[in-house]
Point group: C2
Chain length 206, copies 2
Amino acid sequence: MDEKPIPDIVVGRLPLYLRALRHMISEGRQLTSSQELAERLGISAAQIRKDLSHFGEFGKQGTGYNIDFLAEQLERILKVDRVWNMAVIGAGDIGSAVARYQGFANRGFKITLIFDNDPEKIGRRIGPFTVHNMDQIGTLIKAENIKVAMIAVPTAYAQEVADQLVSAGIKAILNYAPLNINVPSGVWVEYTDPVTHLQHMTYYLD
Amino acid sequence: MDEKPIPDIVVGRLPLYLRALRHMISEGRQLTSSQELAERLGISAAQIRKDLSHFGEFGKQGTGYNIDFLAEQLERILKVDRVWNMAVIGAGDIGSAVARYQGFANRGFKITLIFDNDPEKIGRRIGPFTVHNMDQIGTLIKAENIKVAMIAVPTAYAQEVADQLVSAGIKAILNYAPLNINVPSGVWVEYTDPVTHLQHMTYYLD
DNA sequence: TAGATTGTTAATCGATTAACAATC
DNA sequence: TAGATTGTTAATCGATTAACAATC
């Protein structure tokens, strides 16, 4: 009776499929195929069909996929058929850029809180947000029932901030600090570090 | 006689190993083991040993790895035992944050050029850099023999900027625009898009 | 209808893990 | 020496691909 969980590597590709589909929608397209998606994404058509088959049957033989419909299904599966409010911890260069980033809109996320511990920054505005004191993390995140946060503080403070976020009920953390952090099970962490990407590529350069 | 290429997935983990080792160095540590690295990174010790074994024998039985030595070896393998000058295209929020980011130093990278096409921005300073006109991309990148670039322009312009970078001789691109771009073989592209990470995590939330 | 494309199965391919001799 | 840990082999596990019946 055990339902096999979907492989995480499959889940990780769904946002890429969704991103490509949204782009097609912006081009006014209505139909696509596993073949076309595969070419755009640089992966195989068979893999796309296999990945999607874990979740249902979304296409029509001979025709392909209705782009709007498939995008809606992926949004539902990824739970971005709603808006997740987010907190940003750290109002330095990265935190500020994140807070002003227009790319979250219509993709399921919205920043609603930003924190720093620098008295110079607390109370200042960044875009539409007022920077809150970090000692308010627990109170405000709980009050607004926020589940998703981004860490944009100096490396040395990332673990301690992560601990506070977990205490405040955060369940998903995107960590911009170039450091692995430990969190209890049931809390998810992803990392974004430009240098690891760059070092991956330089391996292949002369 | 054909040497088997190292699996790309292995290459992609080396920067994570290096990052953990550098962190240990900053803690004043001298020795580590595959076991300890594995715990910090959340992967298996066997995998770390197997990955490293593609490149040589860096440890000592019974003792483990000399952290400085292993870090040096990984830096050599990843070709970050030198400094790669980089160009940033786009001086908006992301480009500006990237240009001010302190995290490239001592990890093998240094920004030396930043471009935008907004007359308001051209000639202005961002941190230590003067924003150049995008019509100078080819000239300046060739003149400085730059091989690595970051794209931080609006999605709609990312492909066109990528084409210009390729013409200018760029071989590695880190793309901040949430869009797949096409480049000829011999040019490497990696992507960084916070939303794909966030959507990956929300799959697992309620 | 003929052509196209899906969803799925089975085969292949590759990555991870377990185990241990070697040895520091 | 005894204990610890590597590097490597073989086994396991899982992911990708090829192929095709089903069918729009």
